[in-house]
């Protein structure tokens, strides 16, 4: 058991050392793979951050329906109920003229405004939060016109332009990420296969020797699997560093944007689950590719063909 562990450790160290030797001096291939992989992964991470952010922001949009001055309190309460019953509305608040004035005073600091006015200029208003399921611009348009048509509604206000812009931006990033993800991942996939093949073809003598003197398949596979693990790990670490550095670089801008909407949320968070999937995928591709290549060579080399 101890000797077996010692042997495996020795093989692992040999594999580490072999990375420094030509033609397995593959640092440029590893770096290239990491750089290529960083692009779609970075876009994906950024897209996910934006999606998360836009989801948070989407909770904030409100529609404010200002009722006409002559509306009575009971009618206004009925109006609130009507709006609340709409499918698209998640919640609503009744805001009396007095409450509206108070909010205005608090927001502007003009506490003595009523000294200059004969009467409260604010009408009764209904503030409604739109359900997350109806957040696209078309739904907003329909909803606004529905509310506008209601009795006593004087004016409906909703600034959804920023939400639409954010949604578009997120879509652009997401779609661009998806568009580049497949070709770039394919490039990384083929780079990994090429690295595996190069490693195996460089080691054909060793495979032939070990096979002909009776090494088990597991013994023959072992150094290739270890090297695949080391290479996948290095590609992963480099990609991680590149992407997380870029995200950290942009974190301040995202924080500034988030603070504008008074949302208490971290700007960016490391997405460990996504990173775990990326590492597993890298490792799986690498190990399958190297095992298949060695297996194919073993089929050719396990018996000699004299003529």
């Amino acid at each position: 058991m101890g000797n077996s562990l010692e042997h495996k450790t020795r093989i692992f160290v040999q594999c580490l050392n072999s990375l420094r030797k030509p033609p397995l001096k593959i640092w440029h291939s590893i770096l290239l793979s990491a750089l290529i992989l960083s692009m779609p992964v970075g876009l994906y991470m950024m897209g996910t951050t934006l999606e998360y952010f836009s989801f948070l922001v989407k909770q904030q949009p409100e529609i404010t329906a200002f009722l006409s001055e002559d509306v009575e309190h009971n009618s206004a309460v009925l109006m609130q109920q009507k709006i609340q019953e709409m499918e698209e509305i998640e919640s609503s608040q009744f805001i009396s003229a007095e409450q509206a004035l108070k909010e205005f005073e608090e927001l502007t600091g003009l506490y003595s405004v009523m000294n200059y006015l004969q009467e409260n200029p604010f009408p009764i208003s209904i503030r409604a939060q739109v359900s997350a399921a109806y957040i696209n611009p078309q739904d907003y348009e329909t909803l606004l016109s529905q509310i506008q048509r209601l009795e006593y509604v004087d004016l409906v206000q909703f600034d959804y332009e920023w939400a639409a812009k954010l949604s578009s931006l997120r879509n652009v990033v997401e779609n661009f990420g998806k568009a580049v993800f497949i070709p770039f991942s394919l490039v990384v996939f083929f780079l990994i296969i090429s690295m595996s093949r190069r490693h195996v073809f460089f080691s054909l003598d060793e495979i032939k020797l070990l096979s002909l003197i009776g090494a088990s398949r597991r013994f023959i596979y072992r150094p290739f699997i270890y090297t695949a693990f080391i290479q996948s790990f290095l590609i992963f670490i480099l990609t991680f560093v590149i992407v997380e550095s870029s995200l950290a670089y942009s974190a301040q801008s995202v924080s500034d944007l988030i603070s504008l909407y008074q949302i208490d949320s971290p700007a960016t968070a490391t997405q460990w689950k996504a990173w775990g999937i990326i590492f597993s995928a890298l490792l799986l591709i690498h190990i399958i590719s190297v095992r298949l290549t060695v297996a194919l060579q073993l089929r050719k080399l396990e018996f000699v063909k004299h003529a």
């Binding site: 000797n3 020795r10 002909l212 003197i213 009776g214 090494a215 018996f303 004299h306 003529a307």
Partner: protein, 228 residues
């Protein structure tokens, strides 16, 4: 005991490497296989090493019919024999000692045990002082001796050596043969193919001669058996 019963090996190009060979090699002897180029010496050695399978006939080593071995058993059989062949490469990225140590790695021996086995074996082939040398620092004949050391490092019960003294001068060749002769006296069966008749001119070891894939004659010790 090694027995070949009506063994033929025909290659994909139609040529015969061996044709209907039947013979017996007693255990714990050194047997020379000789004949001109193309006689079937290497085919015979590779069939014994199970590097290829006969197209016809049976090869029985001890109690084992080689045709009946599974892939895993083939590996185990190959591990149990020491093989020297020009077809078996040395690993250029490893030094002399590490090349000799390769067969010892399969059994997960402790490094200290491996080192002492390798040192003793290199001593036998006269290369102990070159343990740490890279292969590029060795002559062709020295590299051959590294291969021989690798074949005998396991102290196997069965050694197959295909032209082990090719490219060696007479003195070195005689030294190498002395190593194999020493093994044959220690419960080991050694089969050596060679076209150099001086190695068996003392008539102390059985000689099997092939020509054009057919058994020409088998001297005392190695018995030409009559197949079915």
């Amino acid at each position: 005991m090694i027995r070949l019963l009506n063994v033929s090996k025909q290659y994909s190009n139609g040529q015969f490497g061996l044709r209907n060979v039947s013979l017996e090699i007693p255990a714990n002897t050194l047997v020379f296989i000789t004949g001109p180029t193309g006689a079937g010496k290497t085919t015979f050695a590779t069939l014994l090493a199970l590097w290829q399978k006969p197209t016809e006939g049976q090869i029985i080593v001890g109690d084992t019919d080689l045709a009946e071995l599974s892939r895993r058993q083939i590996s185990r059989y190959r591990r149990s024999i020491g093989i020297y062949s020009p077809d078996l490469p040395l690993l250029n990225d490893r030094n002399v000692g590490d090349n000799v140590a390769v067969p010892l790695l399969f059994d997960s021996l402790a490094r200290s045990k491996i080192n002492s086995r390798v040192a003793n074996t290199l001593d036998m082939v006269g290369l102990r002082s070159k343990h740490e040398f890279s292969l590029a620092q060795l002559t062709d004949a020295e590299q051959q001796r590294v291969k021989i050391a690798r074949a005998i490092v396991l102290r196997p019960p069965f050694i197959i050596a295909d032209e082990p003294t090719a490219n060696m001068d007479n003195m070195l060749g005689t030294n190498v043969m002395t190593i194999f002769k020493r093994f044959a006296g220690r419960n080991t069966t050694v089969v050596v193919t060679t076209h150099n008749r001086s190695h068996f001119s003392d008539r102390r070891h059985p000689v099997i001669e092939f020509r054009q894939g057919q058994l020409l004659n088998a001297s005392q010790g190695a018995v030409e058996s009559h197949g079915k």
